[in-house]
């Protein structure tokens, strides 16, 4: 199973992810209807792309009274079936992260569906701030960067001399 990962040190707040996602979801360039948003915290100079990371608890799915949200067999994403959705918005209240939203233009909710396994935001992020990788091993590369730093700290050979 793969997951979206975010490296906020690489985000420049260009919002190409919002354009790519809204195109995928609505067929127009419309950041307001994007499931991923790049938040700008200007006073602390931090830029954070944020979206649904497909939690296991799946409050959205479990709160839906008409079973409009289900788990995609291939990607394991929680996906909204627009034909079943009745726009009651209970899922938007149940999700503690705010990552499922209501679109008044369609009367349905929308969220990240992982683009059927080829996330558009990942493909269009110019800096690699958003990546899509194996959920069990994708922390390892970050860990290894810090492991490397330990090699600066001291050399075992020198210490034992």
């Amino acid at each position: 199973m793969k997951t979206l990962r975010v490296d906020i040190s690489k985000c420049t707040a260009c919002r190409q992810c919002e354009l790519a996602c809204s195109w995928h979801l609505t067929g127009s360039f419309n950041p307001a209807k994007s499931a991923i948003k790049a938040f700008v915290f200007d006073t602390i100079a931090r830029y954070v792309p944020y979206t649904c990371f497909q939690c296991d608890e799946a409050w959205c799915m479990n709160s839906c009274p008409v079973s409009a949200i289900s788990i995609d067999a291939k990607t394991k994403a929680k996906v909204v079936d627009k034909d079943r959705c009745v726009g009651c918005r209970v899922c938007t209240i149940a999700c503690p992260f705010g990552t499922i939203s209501f679109d008044s233009a369609t009367g349905k909710v929308y969220k990240c569906d992982l683009c059927d396994g080829d996330p558009s935001c990942v493909a269009n992020c110019p800096t690699g701030a958003i990546t899509y990788g194996d959920v069990d091993t994708s922390s390892t590369s970050r860990m290894s960067q810090w492991a490397l730093k330990l090699t600066d700290a001291y050399s075992v050979k020198e210490a034992s001399l």
Binding site: T12, A13, C14, R15, Q16, L19, A20, S22, W23, T26, G27, S28, F29, N30, P31, A32, K33, D42, T43, I44, A45, R46, Y47, A105, N124, P126, T127
Partner: protein, 613 residues
């Protein structure tokens, strides 16, 4: 059929409070594309070039291009077009950030403001809900506080705000309009026009989105451009790492970095305020405008001790917060040009310019002029209110406050270097053209940019014909900065091509890697137009001539296509460019000829007919 144009403009009359939606003139859109070209056409058609720029007869136009708001790389740009109170010429001032794209998502290509309000107002736009609202709570406040308060008042943290600060309200002649707190339509005093109309801000939120005419072709075109931008060492590496501030050392090594009000062309302490030093010691992040894959924006923080320095009590700002800038132009104008080498004073003065809403290039240049007046004894400490010696970092910061609020000597600085130098009996200390101060390249060391300065329609300016790309950086091809041969043709080509880029909604920095052969197809697939590169260049030439005709009618004649005596005759005193002057007379006649103008810079009948003007 879909298009990335919304084809709608908002016409807001501030005198009677009326707000109308109009269809964009399709004939003009075909002839001028959008952005700078289209808005200038509206200005030309609807106003008399002889009006007073600060009167209610002037119009203030916010305009986007067809690629603004699309994922075309650097598709963020919008322009402010109006008559400049600094120069009396046509003003087109470009800004990035997120405001322009948000205006498109709300469903508008352009806003035209007419007349003037009795009391301070702001325009609120949320898709089709457009209203003028009372701005008395924010009038008098800085841009940053204004943005926070108005977003709160509108109940929308994602709204985008373009505002003036105290400088615009006080009609400082080089005040500007700022969006997202740190991005500015900087030059030519467009903020003063907004202030004269008692318009404090525009707040916009759009949820309609835009489409494109041929999505498959469009994605192919933009992806190709994105690849080129990524692979280019300039747009893919140097600009994100160092911003434009990398040029401080470049121009200094060349002997083309004007210092001490152009008395010299090198600054002995350039390294202390260089892009490298900024990146190593004060930079905390780099940032992009909307849809930009370059991300040249500088985000900086002051060390704690520095954040306490030179504060004036009217400040309600938190100096410990991160802020944006400085880039090359503002670094140059407020440090080497003034002999200042204190990077923290520079950062703070730049932030003040952003929050007060004034052009740091003109501010630094005007201060440098004042410093030369002080140095020669034409003004003393009593007149200035403080020591204005070259190099005084405290003066750099304190005078920024004084200028924005028009207090004490700041009231004179607020008039710009041209009027300041005349007031104190030394017009020869004004370093600029058509009453606008020079930007950051010494025209004695770089011949072509001197011709560009002398002939650019909005006065001394580097962006409307950036020959530096060729003369210094070798983009697209290297030319010898010290040579005058071929510079007339080079300047015309840059000016015409830039007209297209400025009308498209893209950022000129995209042209460090892509050119019209990549940009024109993006416009076509986004809108359904069918321009060739030649068509586009002709449009660029048409835009240039239209702006020029406006200036001629405004009373700015060909005799003003010149450079100050210090540039034409005052040889650089030392360094690698010692002895150089700008040899304008070797370039200007050929330039007029190539433009199809007579010796008084008037376009011939034949040229006007050819351009359909």
């Amino acid at each position: 059929m879909s298009s990335s144009y919304t084809n709608r403009l908002l016409r807001v009359n501030l005198s009677d409070g009326s707000i109308k939606i109009e269809k964009i003139n399709q004939d003009w859109q075909n002839k001028f594309i959008g952005g700078r070209g289209l808005a200038t056409k509206y200005l030309v058609a609807e106003t008399d070039p002889k009006i007073d720029a600060l009167s209610k007869e002037n119009k203030l136009i916010f305009v986007t291009g067809p690629l603004t708001g699309t994922p075309a790389p650097t598709g963020a740009r919008y322009m402010i077009v109006t008559k400049s109170p600094l120069t009396g010429a046509v003003a087109c001032s470009n800004s990035g950030g997120y405001f322009g794209s948000e205006l498109k998502f709300a469903g508008y290509d352009m806003i035209i403001f007419e007349g003037a309000a009795e009391k301070p107002v702001y325009l609120s736009i949320y898709n089709d809900e457009v209203a003028l609202k009372d701005a008395s709570e924010v009038w008098g406040k800085g841009v940053w506080e204004t943005e926070e308060l108005l977003k709160s008042a509108e109940g929308d943290s994602e709204a985008k705000v373009a505002a003036i600060g105290p400088a615009g309200e006080n009609k400082v002649l080089f005040s500007c309009i700022v969006n997202e707190k740190h991005r500015a339509a900087g030059r030519s005093g467009v903020g003063a026009v907004m202030g004269s109309k008692k318009l404090k801000a525009v707040v916009v939120r759009g949820t309609k989105g835009i489409g494109v005419n041929n999505p498959t072709q469009f994605f192919e075109d933009i992806n190709r451009s994105k690849e080129i931008l990524k692979d280019s060492p300039v747009t893919g590496k140097a600009l994100p790492a160092y911003g434009t501030a990398v040029l401080v050392n470049v121009m200094n090594e060349y002997g083309g970095l004007p210092a001490y009000n152009f008395r010299k062309a090198q600054f002995e302490n350039a390294e202390k305020v260089s892009g490298e030093t900024l990146a190593d010691t004060r930079l905390v992040a780099n940032k992009a405008c909307f849809a930009c894959t370059i991300a040249c924006g500088r985000v900086t923080k002051l060390p704690d001790e520095a954040s306490e320095q030179y504060i004036v009590s009217t400040s309600s700002r938190n100096w410990k917060n991160a802020g944006e800038g400085p880039e090359y132009e503002n670094t140059w104008a407020m440090a080497p040009l003034c002999g200042v080498d204190d990077i923290d004073a520079l950062i703070k003065a730049n932030w003040l310019c952003n929050d007060l809403g004034m052009d740091p290039i003109s501010y630094g240049a005007t201060l440098a002029c004042a410093m030369e007046l002080y140095d020669t004894g034409a003004i003393d400490e009593k007149t200035a209110g403080m020591n204005l010696a070259f190099g005084n970092a405290e003066a750099l910061v304190k005078m920024a406050y004084a200028t924005g609020y028009r207090e004490g000597f700041g009231d004179y600085l607020a008039e710009g270097a041209y009027r300041l130098s005349k007031r104190f009996g030394h017009p020869e200390f004004f370093m600029g053209v058509k009453k606008q101060e020079f930007p950051a390249y010494d025209p004695r060391s770089v011949q072509g940019i001197g011709l560009a300065y002398a002939t650019n329609n909005r006065g001394a300016d580097h962006l409307r014909g950036y020959t530096i790309a060729s003369e210094i950086m070798g983009i697209p091809e290297k030319t010898d900065p010290a040579a005058t041969e071929g510079k007339a043709a080079l300047t015309k080509l840059f000016q015409d091509a830039t007209g297209v880029v400025d009308s498209s909604g893209l950022c000129v920095f995209s042209t460090f890697a892509i050119g019209l052969p990549e940009i024109v197809p993006m416009i076509n697939s986004a809108t359904g137009s069918n321009y060739s590169v030649d068509d586009a260049l002709k449009i660029g030439e048409r835009i240039w001539n239209m702006e020029h005709l406006y200036n001629l009618e405004a009373g700015i004649s060909g005799s003003e296509d010149t450079l100050p005596k210090r540039i034409l005759e005052g040889k650089i005193p030392e360094g690698p460019t010692k002895g150089m002057v700008n040899r304008l007379s070797e370039m200007l006649p050929e330039y007029y000829k190539l433009r199809g103008w007579d010796s008084s810079a008037t376009p011939t009948e034949a040229k006007l007919k050819e351009l359909d003007l």
